[in-house]
């Protein structure tokens, strides 16, 4: 196992992170002991920058790029100056990577990207994509995404992922060359179509239901939390008015003046403290959002399983009908209605040669059909096996991460209460001096 300990492997390279953020990132990323990639390299999304350029339709556009830094683990632990690989990527490239992974590993619960547009905002928070706070939170989210992929037992060894981290130019072309796009399109079409599975797998159905419920409850939580944040902001800020009026009042007082004036300052401090409080809470909201999107990834896997199952069932059905046709042809009995059968009855039997030819064709089709059923069966089994392994892994990760999130949320609340007590104690001291 890694000598530096599992926590050191996921060290974040960005020193701009507050201790809480670092802690959160560490806690949020469950580093699998078996992941080869993170044993070799440290990954971080260090910075964000604005760029302008021409887009596909030759129009000027402004966009943000993110700096991905990787460095070999060994060099860092030896204390020598590590070789830094760094390249800039846009959000859209992250999206491309994720789509590729989704198609290539359909059984995997693929880690989600941070949201494209700010949602569940409370009114002071900017919904503008260019807002520096939003960009910063997105940077953290993208880093989290990379770390999660890098710690995934299957996804971490993907070549395209590796190239994403190491190749700046030409990576996009490489991805497209894999031809995943076509597969993606057909998959998407099939997934979006409505189909009914005859024997749904109970476990997957339950999982899908769980994913639905998780998505619904987290959405609700985020919505109410945003409204509460708005109100809390109001409560704190109005106290700032006390600061002003105490100051004015102290001007017309003699002995009471000093106490009032200093108390007023504490009221101002109290009002100002809410900005930091809510900024910290936003991290909690981001952690919840990650699992909101994870719920969607989970549902996607269940849906893909359904599709696989459906396709198997279709193949079986097809094979069965072909076999039946052969039987009828061989024995001459028509058990199933077919237009051909009717016409042949009406207009006379086929010639033995025609029958032979038909039988032969059916035989080949049946052979192919059996092959296909075998394949699809194997596919299905394989899918179920791998998916279920990943779902179990995901469940453990989710339980761990969300528990950690709740703990850090409680810690945030404790800190807020302590600050409140301190401010009011300070104010009380001043009032006592009045």
């Amino acid at each position: 196992m890694a000598d530096s300990g599992s926590e050191d492997i996921a060290v974040i390279g960005n020193t701009d992170l507050t201790p809480l953020e670092s802690e959160n990132n560490l806690k949020n990323t469950m580093v699998e002991k078996g992941t080869s990639l993170l044993k070799k390299m440290e990954i971080s999304v260090a910075e964000a920058e604005k760029r302008t350029g021409k887009n596909a339709v030759n129009m000027q556009e402004t966009y943000t790029v993110y700096l991905i830094e990787t460095r070999p683990v060994d060099a860092a632990s030896e204390g020598t100056n590590p070789v830094l690989d760094s390249l800039w990527k846009r959000y859209s490239e992250f999206e491309l990577l994720r789509n590729y992974l989704l198609v290539t590993y359909p059984f995997a619960v693929v880690p989600p990207l941070p949201e494209k547009r700010a949602e569940f905002v409370w009114h002071k928070l900017s919904a503008d994509n260019m807002d520096p706070d939003f960009v910063e939170r997105r940077r953290v989210g993208l880093e989290n995404f990379l770390l999660r992929v890098a710690s995934h037992p299957v996804l971490s060894s993907d070549k395209i992922f590796y190239l994403f981290l190491t190749e700046e130019n030409g990576w996009k072309e490489t991805v497209f060359e894999t031809g995943f796009q076509a597969k993606a399109d057909s998959r998407l079409k099939a997934l979006n179509a409505t189909f009914r599975v005859k024997n749904p797998d109970k476990r997957f159905a339950e999982m899908k239901h769980y994913g639905d419920e998780l998505q619904s409850v987290i959405s609700q939580l985020l919505r109410v939390r945003a409204r509460a944040a708005d109100r809390l902001y109001g409560v704190y800020k109005v106290h700032g008015n006390y600061g002003r009026v105490f100051s004015e009042w102290s001007a017309i007082e003699k002995e009471m003046g000093d106490g009032l004036q200093s108390a007023g300052h504490h009221m101002d401090a109290y009002a100002a403290s809410v900005d930091d409080i809510l900024e910290e809470e936003e991290h909690y909201a981001d952690q919840l959002k990650e699992y909101l999107f994870y719920a969607d990834a989970l549902r996607t896997v269940c849906r893909k399983h359904e599709l696989t199952q459906y396709e198997l069932e279709m193949a079986v059905q097809d094979l069965t009908s072909k076999k039946q046709q052969r039987e009828e042809l061989a024995t001459g009995t028509i058990r199933t209605f077919s237009l051909k059968g009717m016409t042949s009855k009406l207009f006379g039997q086929e010639t033995p040669e025609q029958r032979e030819a038909k039988l032969k064709m059916l035989e080949t089709q049946i052979e192919e059909g059996e092959e296909q059923v075998k394949e699809r069966n194997a596919e299905c089994d394989e899918f179920v096996k791998s998916a279920w392994v990943d779902i179990e892994r995901f469940k453990e990760q989710k339980d761990h991460d969300l528990r950690e999130s709740l703990i850090s949320y409680a810690i945030m609340q404790i800190s807020m209460c302590k600050k409140g007590i301190q401010v009011w104690n300070n104010a009380k001291e001043c009032f006592n001096k009045m």
């Binding site: 109005v238 528990r403 104010a427």
Partner: protein, 406 residues
């Protein structure tokens, strides 16, 4: 919204109303028991120079008033809360039951009979039905404290404590007759002052300063009142959101296994914080806002006193002017002009002394009010802190337990 049946309040024992002869007719012997509870630092000398007669039963420092709440015995006067007032010298001497309107009567009589003095304020008379529960324990208690403060301040005052109405209030069984008269005389008095019509020419600087200060101070109090109301409103709306927020964690826990307890814990925690917040807003509504409003009313009455002083001075100035321009310079200044001068000087002296007393009381009152506000907020945060801190081990516990079973 009608008031519910008053809950039975803890009574510290009913003291029988003792039939004591009116204090003003008391014999000397009965008064020899008066302990000297004089505040060593204070000089009990009337503003006009005469020392306080400490042998009077109503002398300020020998009175110890205690207010006790009592149930309404007959029940038909449900709408009127009665207060038990006990006046002690050493042992309980007088015990009477009074309603709020009796206090109101007393204050009016004091204002009439001692127009040159600042009379301490009463808690607000009118409370909006449906906003504040007039029979809630908290409301009655708050009012009781304010009424107690009122009586103590009157008892503390070197002049007011001698007032006959005050004595009657403390000792007489029945105040009813006086109430009717009070209404008439009050009207008469106010008419007298309004139609004065004199304009003061040389208002002394200190009284002008008092007036200016009171105007500014009232403004500030109004602002503080508005801010406090706004905060209460915002807190109430925050509370509403919290009451929706907590239960979401509960419904989440219902379809989780490992996370069930942690999520339930968070839900419970948020619920505790909600209750704490509700208590904070209620306290502020019941304790903080009323005091501010009382002060505004108090200041109104003080401004009236200042106006009266101006009028008395104006009257004097007019009369003086008439005399200055009299034909016969040899005849002495008529006595009524001298009386006027006396009145002005007395008034000014009384007012100055009372102003200082008022400033002191004001300082105390606001120190108490604002530290009270701080305490309420501290208590709120302490409750929330306790809730969240007790949650942490619960959140971490399962992890360790799970680690062991793994």
């Amino acid at each position: 919204m009608s008031a519910g049946t008053p809950r039975s309040l803890a009574s510290s024992g009913q003291k029988s109303i003792q039939d004591i002869c009116h204090p003003l007719s008391a014999e000397e012997s009965a008064l020899s028991r008066i302990p000297d509870v004089l505040n060593p630092g204070s000089d009990l000398i009337l503003p006009n120079g005469t020392p306080v007669d400490t042998s009077s039963p109503a002398s300020s420092s020998s009175l110890l008033n205690r207010l006790q709440l009592d149930d309404d015995l007959d029940g038909e006067t449900r709408d009127e809360q009665k207060y038990n007032i006990t006046t002690e010298f050493d042992l309980p001497e007088y015990s009477v039951r009074r309603r709020y309107q009796d206090f109101d009567w007393l204050r009016n009589k004091l204002e009439e009979s001692q127009p040159t003095h600042l009379i301490p304020p009463l808690p607000e008379k009118f409370v909006m039905k449906g906003v504040v529960d007039r029979f809630s324990e908290e409301f009655v208690e708050t009012r009781r404290k304010a009424l107690d403060k009122f009586l103590k301040r009157v008892a503390d005052h070197p002049v007011l404590s001698f007032n006959e109405h005050f004595n009657a209030f403390l000792s007489a069984k029945d105040l009813n007759k006086r109430q009717g008269l009070a209404l008439l005389t009050k009207m008469g008095e106010s008419v007298k002052y309004v139609t004065g019509g004199y304009k003061v020419r040389a208002r002394p600087v200190e009284f002008a300063a008092m007036g200016d200060y009171l105007d500014l101070f009232t403004q500030k109090l109004g602002t503080i009142d508005r801010i406090a109301q706004r905060i209460i409103k915002e807190q109430s709306e925050f509370l509403m959101e919290l009451r929706e927020y907590g239960p979401v964690y509960s419904s989440w826990s219902s379809f989780e296994e490992d996370l069930h307890d942690p999520l339930e814990g968070v839900s419970g925690c948020v619920s505790n914080c909600s209750s704490a917040l509700e208590e904070l807003t209620e306290d502020m509504s019941e304790d903080f806002l009323p005091v501010l409003r009382e002060y505004v009313l108090y200041i109104e009455s003080m401004k009236n006193v200042l106006k009266k002083r101006d009028q008395v001075q104006a009257e004097y100035e007019t009369k003086l002017e008439a005399v200055v321009f009299r034909e016969d310079k040899k005849t002495p200044v008529p006595s009524d002009v001298e009386k006027c001068q006396d009145r002005v000087e007395c008034f000014n002296a009384d007012l100055k002394a009372d102003w200082d007393r008022w400033e002191n009381n004001k300082r105390q009152d606001f120190r108490q009010l604002l530290t009270g506000m701080s305490n309420k907020n501290i208590l709120y945060y302490e409750k929330c802190l306790a809730a969240w801190e007790s949650l942490i081990p619960l959140l971490q516990d399962k992890q360790e337990a799970k680690g062991e079973t793994n």
